[in-house]
Symmetry: C2
Subunit: 107 residues, 2 copies
Amino acid sequence: MSLAPDLLFRTLADPTRRAIFERLCREGEQTVGALTVRSGVSQPAVSKHLGALKLAGLVRDRHEGRQTHYSAQPGALDPLLDWTSQMTGFWQRRLDALDDLLKRMDQ
Amino acid sequence: MSLAPDLLFRTLADPTRRAIFERLCREGEQTVGALTVRSGVSQPAVSKHLGALKLAGLVRDRHEGRQTHYSAQPGALDPLLDWTSQMTGFWQRRLDALDDLLKRMDQ
DNA sequence: CTTATCCATAACTCCACGGTTATGAATTAA
DNA sequence: TTAATTCATAACCGTGGAGTTATGGATAAG
């Protein structure tokens, strides 16, 4: 099994952290200060969440003077898509097999 | 925002639980006893994971005598697909807008 | 009827982690 | 140079939750 989905699921499981990632996807690049406003948590908390998101490859950071700009990296979501379609794929394949079996028994 | 992704992410964040769900997708319906074997954890732990998966709508249970059969319900993954494509969608739309802007400035 | 099997629940322990405040490094403004 | 701003890190706390063992209810087997 691949390790990528694990880190992604763990990272996106926290609502606050996922909300930060959503904001970056919707509104584009943001500084830490901008993200802290209306995040509901303190600035250090936001910094830690951004660190976790970066570790999972979900965001990139760009330093400019004393502020750090973060932006979403939605390509990192690909393993999530892969995993999901694999799961539904397995299920579908089994369903098809059952369907096939029933047809054989029917005739 | 919808609440569905939150429960799904939280439920699938645990590796043991996700492995159980994966087995159900790959191999189809299983009893608790069968799932406990090679799960690496005790039977009560497996039961609790199955309860969490059921709460998230990811599995169904079927009682037959003294054993309970569980099966995957992959349709429950749909909100996950929706969320993911929304995120990449937002990002893509912003990229398109930027592209558009650049074209205007270019001419 | 008695015993064994299957599963769920209860009660408990432990720790990963999300939150906080405090602080300092780096940069900008006065 | 001094003061203010921005962010990251350290240190700490509290809690949710994943694991365990113990137990009991329900069903099947002897």
